[in-house]
Each structure stands twice: as structure tokens, then as C-alpha cells.
């Protein structure tokens, strides 16, 4: 049966369709096995109460896992930590990137060298990024304490990562360092696309540097900024590597973010159902946020 159906399809379908099918097939096979199937399976998992320490009973609970998550105070702690971390990371990354892009948009000797150099953080593996900053923050021998004390800004050595009031910001700083370059490059490319005539016209009208930035550059950058915001939010909201290597959710629950909660529920408490449900909530949050950004920014362009 299957043979005749396939035969008929290839006879009927034109050369284009057949070529397209063949050319696209490898990607679909790969994505089927390692992406689509796991995605569907993990949604299916999220509807069951699966706990690996109790493998004989895995009842269907429907939205039960989701309901339990919403009643879990640790979930709301995680939401709060994730929000603070993401807002800090994304906003500072974007502002830094904007300044760097404005700088690299100018013509000056050494500009090419500089734009190659800023790829350094981008190419750094996140694990190395994490250990590097952990060492810089080291309370006993780290560079940060050393510099601050030598300059006189700090009386004596202090704890950075281990201080619950600071830890999220210290991790965010490591993330910003790594993410800023790509954001800057994306903004630089959209800046280069702004017609020079706009600047000339504004100069003729007597606009100074800041007015030109505010009235010409910024409006024209809107699509670029939107892309950066959406991309950075999607990345930052699910950061995990830095948290594992730098703080493991601690001290206490100071860096207990949603990704960390997913990891703890899945691999430490072995509650696969809860872990999968949490992942879906995170995916939905990412989706909604991207949509809101695109709606909010896309209104004009």
C-alpha cells in the first residue's frame, strides 16, 4: 500500500516539489529526532506526576503539575530572581552595546582592530566566562577586591558572589560582558544602514550631536533595538551555565532562578513532571515577552 501511495505522489508531484522534499529531508529527520519529538514528549511528561524515586506509579494529573507549581512559594522566588536578573542583564547589555556601536560607527585609526577585539567575549565559552569572573570576584585573592582596595574605594576585602544582595548582579555582570559584543554588532549594522542624508539635513537644520542622536539615530534604530531586546531577553531568561558554575542557586536562594529550579526539580528531586511543566512555563513566558516587544516596537515601522 505504502509503495503505491509513494509512487503516485512522485508521479503527480512536479520536479520542484520532489527536489524540495529531498533537499529538506535531512533537516527534518534530524530535527524530528532531536527537537520535535523531545518537545512533544516533554509536554506529554508535564501532564503526569512522574517522580523517579517512585517509578511504579506515574498517574495522569492533567494541569495538576502546573497548579502545584503556582502554589509553590519557591516558584515565585524563582520568578522574582529571574525577572531581576533578566531586566538588569538585558537593559545594561543594550545600553552598553548602543554606546559601543556609536563608537565603532565613527571613523578613527584602530577601529578595525577594536571591532575584531570585541569578539573576544563573544567567543569565550560560558563555562570559562563563569570561572573567570568567579576568580575575579574571589573574596580572598580576587582582582576586584585587589583593585578596589589599591585604588582606595574599599577599606578591606569583601565578599561579592557570596553576598545574597549582590550575587544576581555579579552574575549579570559576567553575562553582560559576554553578550554585549553581539548586540553591539547587530546595532552597528543597523546604524550603517541609516542614510547619511538624514544626518546632513539635521545638521543643516542646526541640530547638535545629541539632537541628531535623539531625532535621527534612535528612531532609525528601532528595528535593530527590537531585535537586540528580543534576542537578549530570550537568551538571558534561560541562562543556566553561569548559575551552575558560579553559585548553584545560592547563597541560600539568592540566585534561584527558573532555569535553576528546572534543573533542581528534574535532576536533584527527580520530579520529571514538574520539571517539564516548569520548562513549558518558561517557554511560554519567552514567547509572550517576544510577542510584546515586537508589538510594542513594531507599531510604527
Amino acid at each position: 500500500m505504502a509503495d503505491t501511495w509513494a509512487d503516485r505522489l512522485s508521479r503527480k508531484a512536479g520536479y520542484d516539489e520532489r527536489s524540495a522534499a529531498i533537499l529538506i529531508l535531512p533537516v527534518f529527520v534530524v530535527l524530528m529526532v532531536v527537537a520535535l519529538y523531545p518537545i512533544i514528549y516533554s509536554f506529554y511528561t508535564s501532564l503526569f506526576d512522574i517522580v523517579l524515586t517512585r517509578p511504579w506509579r506515574r498517574p495522569f494529573v492533567g494541569y495538576g503539575n502546573y497548579a502545584r507549581i503556582f502554589q509553590d512559594p519557591m516558584f515565585w522566588v524563582a520568578v522574582q530572581r529571574t525577572t531581576v536578573y533578566t531586566v538588569v542583564t538585558v537593559s545594561i547589555t543594550t545600553v552598553f552595546a548602543l554606546v559601543v556601536a556609536l563608537l565603532l560607527n565613527e571613523a578613527f585609526p584602530g577601529r578595525r582592530l577594536l571591532s575584531a577585539l570585541i569578539l573576544l567575549p563573544w567567543a569565550t565559552p560560558s563555562i570559562v566566562n563563569g570561572l573567570m569572573w568567579k576568580w575575579i570576584y574571589d573574596p580572598g585573592y580576587g582582582l576586584l577586591n585587589g583593585i578596589l582596595v589599591q585604588v582606595g574605594l574599599l577599606e578591606s576585602y569583601t565578599v561579592w558572589l557570596g553576598n545574597p544582595d549582590r550575587t544576581l548582579f555579579m552574575i549579570a555582570n559576567a553575562a553582560i560582558w559576554k553578550q554585549m559584543p553581539l548586540a553591539a554588532i547587530l546595532l552597528l549594522v543597523s546604524m550603517k544602514a541609516i542614510p547619511q542624508d538624514l544626518y546632513r539635513a539635521a545638521t543643516v537644520d542646526g541640530a547638535n550631536v545629541f539632537q541628531r542622536f535623539w531625532h535621527v539615530t534612535l528612531p532609525a534604530l528601532k528595528p535593530g533595538l527590537m531585535l537586540v531586546l528580543v534576542y537578549e531577553t530570550m537568551i538571558s531568561i534561560r541562562h543556566f551555565d553561569l548559575f551552575l558554575i558560579m553559585t548553584q542557586g545560592g547563597p541560600g536562594d539568592a540566585s534561584y532562578t527558573l532555569s535553576w529550579q528546572i534543573y533542581v526539580e528534574t535532576f536533584r528531586n527527580l520530579k520529571f513532571g514538574i520539571g517539564a511543566a516548569l520548562s513549558y512555563l518558561l517557554a511560554i513566558a519567552t514567547f509572550v515577552l517576544s510577542y510584546l516587544f515586537i508589538r510594542g516596537f513594531g507599531s510604527k515601522s
Partner: protein, 302 residues
């Protein structure tokens, strides 16, 4: 007018210097402390430059000492002597090789499957191309961590746990959607008349891809190879779960083990970090132009 030019030059110089310090400073410190002995990196205030350059850490990684236990080696391995090296040091070299092998394979396979799919979606106007594209892109919306458990089960079913091949296939799922997106925006900028001419001359789709589209999109192809290699080189969470022993573990996994083990000296950890950072940074700097133009191909049009 003069003072304004001077002001501009001053602002640019100051900002450039700050940027160089911000970007290169932390890495310079990483390199500097990897070349210091245990007693030098624990100095207060810290030594910005190694007072006495030592390659002990790198030696331990690239030429692991023989592990005969004698009185002498015991004494040398004592943390108090400051030459203590973690027992996993000899794992770094195989891990380095695993990282290279996985990265190369991902880079090649990613390019092959992505370019054909991107050609099909961008150039052949077949029914359902939009649906195909969205299906591919939507796979990136779910956080990676959500896919690990099902992926582990799939790999166990296929008997692929603890193999480099499992990592290769998994990383393809990460790199392929983005690569296809980039290549599509590149292919769409190529004038369609070239395609029509090629087809009118009797080119098959394969030939049109091979002789028209690929030669004209070299920057994007180089960028995808770089992107795939770097993604694979840097990836952590999938490798953490899918590989449990040194036949397949990659560099980030071994290094994270040292970081979690609080007895390991940061001078040694930093040396391992330097080794992990060199290949991606060298590649990124060498192919900077291609990476920038390739990765941003889709960004300009929005």
C-alpha cells in the same frame, strides 16, 4: 572648530581605551594567573603580572606526570608544596580532542543539511515552504533544559549515550535552525534572474545550488561554519547529561568539574580555561569579517 575636533578625538580615545580594558582585561587576568604558581596567585594584593612565569599547569595538562606513587611523588603532590594538581588533569587532553572532533563534525554536517534546506525554502517556491520554515524555527523556542530528559531517553534507546555522535546530532538541533535562517536571508538577496538563467540552461536544482548560490554566499557559509563550531565548542548542559565518561566528554564538562571541586587551585583552573578559550577566540578573530557580515545578514532587513 579646532577644539571640537580635539574633543571628538579625546572622547573616542577614552572610550576606546575603556572598551579595550573592559573586553580584554578579564581575559588578560585569566592568562596572567594561569602562569603563576599557587603562592603567587594567593598574594595580597594580587600580582597583576606573574612575578615568575611558570608553565607547570600547562605541562601537567599536555605532558601529564607519571602517576607512580613513591615518597617523592607523594611529597610533590602534597597541597602544601604548592604543586598540587587535580587527579583529573590528564583528562583534559582527551576532552580537548573530543571537543575538536565534535565541533568539526557539527560544523560540516550543519552546513550540508542547512544549505540544502535553505535553498529549498528560499529558492524553490514549493507549497508549504512557510510552514516548513516555521516548524524549523519554532524548535528553538523551548528552553534547552526542557529537552534534556527526552533527549537522554532517545539516545539511550539508540544506544548512543556516552558517544560523541550523540553530541553531534544534538548540537545540530541547536545550530541548524539559526543557520537556515541566516542562509535564507542570504539566498534571497541573490538576484532571481541568475536562478532563472541557470534553470533555463538546463541546470538541475542541485546544480543551481552548487554553481550559482554557493559561490555567491561565501561569507554566510563561512559564518555558519564558525557559528556551528563555536556553539558546539561552548555547549555545556547537553554534554553534561549525555556524556558521563572521558570517551566522549568535552572540555567544558571537565573544566566545570575542576571548578566545582574546591580543592583545585585556581591557577590550574585558569590554565584549563585558557586552553578552552584559545581555539574559539583565534577562529573568531581570523574570520571576524565573515562572522559579522554573515551573522547580521538577516538583521538588516529585520
Amino acid at each position: 572648530m579646532m577644539w571640537r575636533r580635539g574633543l571628538r578625538a579625546l572622547v573616542i580615545t577614552v572610550l576606546s581605551l575603556l572598551l579595550v580594558i573592559y573586553v580584554a582585561g578579564p581575559v588578560a587576568w585569566l592568562v596572567s594567573s594561569s602562569l603563576q604558581s599557587e603562592s603567587d596567585i594567593t598574594a595580597v594584593p594580587p600580582n597583576w603580572l606573574p612575578p615568575k612565569v611558570t608553565f607547570d599547569n600547562f605541562e601537567a595538562i599536555f605532558a601529564p606526570p607519571k602517576r607512580e606513587v613513591t615518597y617523592e611523588t607523594r611529597r610533590q603532590g602534597d597541597p602544601a608544596t604548592g604543586r598540587f594538581l587535580p587527579s583529573g588533569a590528564e583528562n583534559l587532553l582527551p576532552a580537548l580532542w573530543n571537543s575538536f572532533a565534535v565541533g568539526m563534525l557539527v560544523a560540516i554536517l550543519n552546513l550540508v543539511v542547512s544549505m540544502t534546506a535553505a535553498y529549498a525554502i528560499a529558492v524553490i517556491h514549493f507549497k508549504g515552504r512557510k510552514a516548513a520554515l516555521y516548524t524549523i524555527l519554532v524548535t528553538r523556542v523551548i528552553p534547552d533544559i526542557a529537552l534534556i530528559v527526552p533527549l537522554f531517553l532517545v539516545m539511550r534507546q539508540l544506544d548512543l549515550v556516552n558517544t560523541r555522535f550523540a553530541l553531534v546530532v544534538t548540537y545540530l538541533a541547536v545550530t541548524v535552525p539559526f543557520t537556515i535562517f541566516i542562509l535564507i536571508s542570504y539566498f534571497e538577496q541573490i538576484p532571481r534572474d541568475l536562478y532563472r538563467a541557470a534553470r533555463a540552461d538546463g541546470c538541475s536544482h542541485w546544480q543551481a545550488l552548487r554553481f550559482v548560490y554557493l559561490p555567491l554566499s561565501l561569507p554566510a557559509l563561512v559564518a555558519s561554519v564558525m557559528f556551528a563550531f563555536l556553539t558546539s565548542w561552548n555547549e555545556f548542559i547537553f554534554a553534561l547529561i549525555l556524556t558521563q565518561n572521558i570517551t566522549s566528554q568535552t572540555l567544558p564538562i571537565i573544566i566545570s568539574g575542576f571548578v566545582m571541586d574546591f580543592t583545585t587551585s585556581f591557577s590550574f583552573i585558569n590554565a584549563a580555561g585558557v586552553i578552552a578559550i584559545v581555539p574559539p577566540v583565534v577562529l573568531a578573530m581570523m574570520f571576524e569579517r565573515y562572522i559579522v557580515s554573515g551573522l547580521t545578514a538577516g538583521a538588516v532587513k529585520g
